[in-house]
Symmetry: C2
Subunit: 239 residues, 2 copies
């Protein structure tokens, strides 16, 4: 192996979005990376990659350039980084298991997004407020309990502080982000719900206090939550 | 390696659903498998696995038992099977690339599902017909063109008959299923749209004529499309 690689992360510059799961892994690993679209001509560079004139284009950001590889899809990027930075088990069974959990998190993230965009991504939230309200009700009645209770149960049986046991994986970082995001988007609903998931709340705090994550969160590399991202705070959806 | 493994696929017995992407890979590979929940006490066995008393439970079907491994999430199962049955490139770059494409297909499948269930999976279609109509409009205006044109462009530049070139991968099988499903659910809309995707239509036909796929489609192992699955035909959504 040569010197450590400098990764290039391509993602929309103004939001945490799906890029954040990758940023958290890179930060925890202490990896060297550029958040390309946030600097200089970065957006133009990202759009050029997506035209795919030289190599086959990814469907959408985030994607990661790692040497000659261009890897798209959040969970796929984490599969790659996990193996290289000790953020996933080495053996096949463990590697597939944490990837499976990350894909379940990805499904949940899509459902979070659809609370404010149940009809279509190309429409404004303001044009789908009534269905958003209904979808959010269903989301908190059925989906949040289903997903978060599942992860809570896994934590209970893990035999350690993290989802697979005593060692942190990228899944723990993503679960931290889910708790953060739900607290931002739905502070009242989440406050009431947290009594059901003491293990996930503990996990969140444990991740927040890891030195690399702590200094990342306090830095300006961490973009603040906002209403262009996936976790959005609309007061009428949080009642 | 010992004798060929007998896989156990766990999926809801009455629908193609997400299990179908796994079935197509197993059938193309000529693998030995049981479609557990479709026989005898299979449903009870599946529910027991999901309680996870012995091993950590998957979040949802489909999942595949392969020896001691229990692998969940459709794309993750295909990642595993692809490597073992020559349905994916062996080198890391190619392996990650086809997995990335499969994850993009998974995103599209979720959007297909949400055309008839934009408000919530626990509600009946009949209780969300108006938003379903709007979401379906957006789906055909923006999302179908975005996804299918993307795959069409990849096919054009692949330099072969399949998405990665001259060799079939599990992604080609899944693209076949997308064309089949859209034809079933939206025959009028799809008929009009197919002129934009001649490469995907050719690919569909090529996959349909592969001997193992052909005999699978003609067998009673292939469940017919129906209105409990992901691709559903509701006449009012196909105008």
């Amino acid at each position: 192996m040569g010197p450590p690689m400098r990764y290039q992360l391509y993602y929309w510059p103004g939001i945490q979005g799906r890029g954040e799961y990758v940023r958290l892994a890179l930060e925890e690993a202490g990896a060297d990376y550029a958040d390309v679209a946030r600097s200089g001509h970065g957006m133009a560079a990202m759009m050029k990659m997506m035209e795919g004139n030289s190599s086959p284009p990814p469907f959408a950001p985030p994607f990661l350039k790692a040497g000659k590889l261009v890897i798209g899809q959040t969970a796929n990027i984490l599969l790659y980084l996990g193996a290289r930075h000790g953020l996933a088990p080495k053996a096949e069974a463990g590697r597939l298991w944490v990837h499976q959990l990350q894909l379940t998190i990805a499904d949940f993230v899509t459902e979070v997004h659809d609370t404010h965009h149940p009809i279509g991504v190309s429409l404004y939230y303001e044009d789908q407020r009534a269905p958003a309200k209904k979808r959010t009700e269903e989301f908190w009645k059925d989906r949040v309990p289903k997903y978060l209770d599942y992860f809570e149960r896994l934590l209970e049986r893990s035999g350690g502080s993290y989802i697979t046991g005593r060692r942190l994986t990228y899944v723990d970082l993503s679960l931290f982000q889910l708790v953060e995001g739900l607290r931002y988007a739905f502070p009242k609903r989440m406050k009431a719900f947290e009594r059901n998931i003491p293990g996930l709340v503990d996990l969140h705090d444990r991740v927040a206090n890891r030195p690399n994550i702590k200094s990342y969160i306090e830095s300006d590399r961490r973009i603040a939550f906002n209403e262009d991202g996936i976790f959005r705070h609309y007061r009428e959806l949080d009642i």
